[in-house]
């Protein structure tokens, strides 16, 4: 069996403090995905984007309508990745504003079909369904292929041990396994360059004139 090529994973972490619990969870998830991919004989290239470092650029993009070169580079990494791990703290019953700002400036169709793992951190387990009622609908709108297991880590989970049913380590491993399966099953998607290979005007006109 031939060795599959390396696959790229981008981890988007919207934690604000340093050190951050959100980053801690992001690192555990990426380590687990790395392990599962290697077990499947696939090399993983994992990049972490700390959104905190792009907070000013994101505000500027929303106000001026264009990304700074460094923010554009971050967006391009996400668009080109084979898989996405998105982790946010839960603020006021939902993802943080910073997390949403980033996905607001990524191209509307840029995440379509992309294997994605969603995860969140919070003070108590009472907010754990924010993953299902806030984060999952966002990625459903973006047509991302979100794996079934979302990982929520409450403060108490970090002292939850390894034996309890459904403990954090087990949940991380299950989600990472699902993401790995999805990444391996999907061939690498080349990003179409609309400038290098434009759609011919006749073709654009034809689709324009097609009946609704």
């Amino acid at each position: 069996m031939s060795q599959p090529a390396a696959r790229s994973i981008v981890v988007v972490s919207a934690g604000l403090s340093q050190p951050s619990t959100t980053r801690l969870l992001a690192d555990r998830l990426s380590a687990a995905v790395d392990r599962h991919l290697r077990d499947a004989g696939v090399e993983a290239n994992i990049e972490v984007l700390e959104l905190r470092e792009y907070a000013q650029d994101l505000t500027n993009n929303l106000l001026t309508g264009f990304p700074s070169p460094r923010l554009q580079a971050a967006i391009d990494e996400v668009l080109g990745a084979d898989g996405l791990i998105a982790v946010t703290p839960i603020f006021s019953a939902s993802y943080s504003g910073l997390f949403k700002m980033f996905f607001d400036v990524v191209d509307r169709d840029g995440l379509a079909g992309k294997p994605s793992l969603i995860a969140a951190t919070g003070g108590t387990a009472r907010h754990s369904l924010a993953i299902e009622h806030a984060i999952r609908p966002l990625f459903a709108y973006l047509n991302a292929a979100v794996v079934a297991t979302g990982v929520y880590a409450a403060a108490e989970d970090w002292g939850g041990g390894l034996t309890a049913d459904g403990n954090l380590v087990e949940r991380i491993d299950r989600a990472a396994s699902e993401l790995t399966t999805a990444i391996v099953a999907r061939p690498h998607q080349d990003q179409p360059d609309r400038f290098e290979s434009p759609v011919a005007f006749e073709e654009l006109l034809r689709s324009n004139n097609a009946p609704d």
Binding site: L63, F66, P69, L204, N208
Partner: protein
């Protein structure tokens, strides 16, 4: 190469005084800017078209018709004409009429607008933006070239046996630019028709301007309109000058910080670094403008944003004096010295197109006569 000013026609309070002009005053300011453009030796005045406050220019041909009567040589243009929500039949009629009144000193720039509710206000859907730009322009293109048009499309009531009047002056349709900041489909459209392509060159980093223009040039050649470097390119620009660069920055900073389009975002310095905006001395404006040529190649039209963001009229007129006296003469000379002989020095002007058409007709008739002689012989 043509140089001029374009205006959005915004009513923005002067952030240094809190004073906002009335609509009546703003309209007079726009006209004053247009007349000043001719006075200081600029070539083009282009007005925006908007259908919501705080903008006043909803009726470009009314304003341009007035300016036409008050000027002798100034080219009258738009930045932009909404090809999406205007009826293409009315555009054909209005601009042909303007062309007659202005003696051919008219071209126009197609754009899609930037305000969502304008589409439903005019019975359209913003999701059809590109589709409307394509269909409406295809119809407009025919209305100016065919005396009798039968037509049916998706967005407008069909036409059978329709003649758009008046016919274009001397049978020559106004030259058309297509403006877009980020849509390659519009660069493709401009290339397909062999029309001009204009990038506003204000909000976007230069790499994006470069990609759009490069695509347009490559496709212009692909569609057989001539070599890529002879395609017709226009750029916007955003400048503010004082003799001393620091004075320019100090004076302009409050206008930048409170301007509707970028106020409250990054610093003026960062914005200048990331976009083509130039606030400084006339020499800095010259150097920066010359650098556009390195980004997009030799181009045919440069428009500057003059009156906006609440700048007082007196300041705007001082800026135009500096453009006319200190900046544009140098730019004309330096661009001309660098431009290869086979690259057009501007978009096609009406008299030149009429003359070329006359020459072609004479040549064709001569050819026909020669053929007739041959056959008879």
């Amino acid at each position: 190469m043509q140089f001029g000013v374009f205006t959005v026609g915004d009513v923005t309070p002067d952030p240094t005084t809190g004073h906002a002009v009335s609509e009546a005053e703003r309209i007079q300011i726009m006209v004053t800017v247009a007349l000043k453009a001719e006075e200081v030796g600029l070539d083009v005045f282009a007005t925006g078209e908007h259908h919501n406050p705080p903008f006043v220019p909803s009726s470009p041909t009314t304003m341009l018709g007035y300016v036409a009567a008050k000027t002798e040589r100034l080219m009258l243009s738009t930045a932009t004409t909404l090809i999406t929500t205007n009826d293409p039949v009315k555009i054909a009629e209005d601009y042909a009429m303007l062309q007659h009144l202005a003696g051919g000193r008219v071209d126009l720039m197609m754009g899609r607008g930037n305000m969502g509710p304008v589409y439903p206000w005019f019975g359209q859907d913003i999701r059809n933006g590109i589709a409307l730009a394509y269909e409406n322009y295809a119809l407009l293109h025919r209305l100016w070239r065919e005396d009798v048009v039968d037509w049916e499309g998706k967005f407008r009531t069909p036409l059978t046996g329709f003649t758009s009047t008046p016919r274009p002056l001397d049978g020559v349709p106004p030259f058309v630019w297509h403006g877009s900041i980020r849509s390659p489909e519009i660069a493709e459209q401009a290339a397909y028709y062999g029309d001009g392509f204009f990038h506003n060159n204000i909000f976007w980093p230069k790499e994006h301007v470069q990609r759009m223009v490069e695509l347009y040039r490559r496709r212009f050649e692909h569609y057989g309109h001539g070599p890529a470097d002879q395609a017709i390119v226009g750029l916007g620009g955003h400048v503010f000058m004082r003799q001393n660069s620091q004075d320019a920055i100090r004076e302009f900073r409050p206008y930048f910080d409170h301007a509707p389009v970028y106020g409250g975002s990054m610093s003026l310095e960062d914005y200048m670094a990331q976009t083509p905006m130039t606030i400084g001395s006339p020499q800095e404006v010259i150097d920066r403008t010359m650098s556009f040529r390195e980004i997009v190649g030799d181009y045919q039209r440069q428009l500057f944003l003059a009156d906006h963001a609440g700048l007082p009229l007196k300041t705007v007129l001082e800026q135009m004096d500096m453009l006319g006296e200190l900046v544009v003469p140098v730019l004309r000379r330096e661009f001309a010295a660098l431009r290869p002989a086979d690259v057009p020095d501007g978009p096609p002007l009406h008299p030149a197109v009429v003359a070329a058409g006359a020459t072609r007709n004479v040549t064709e008739r001569a050819d026909e006569n020669a053929t007739a002689t041959l056959v008879a012989g």
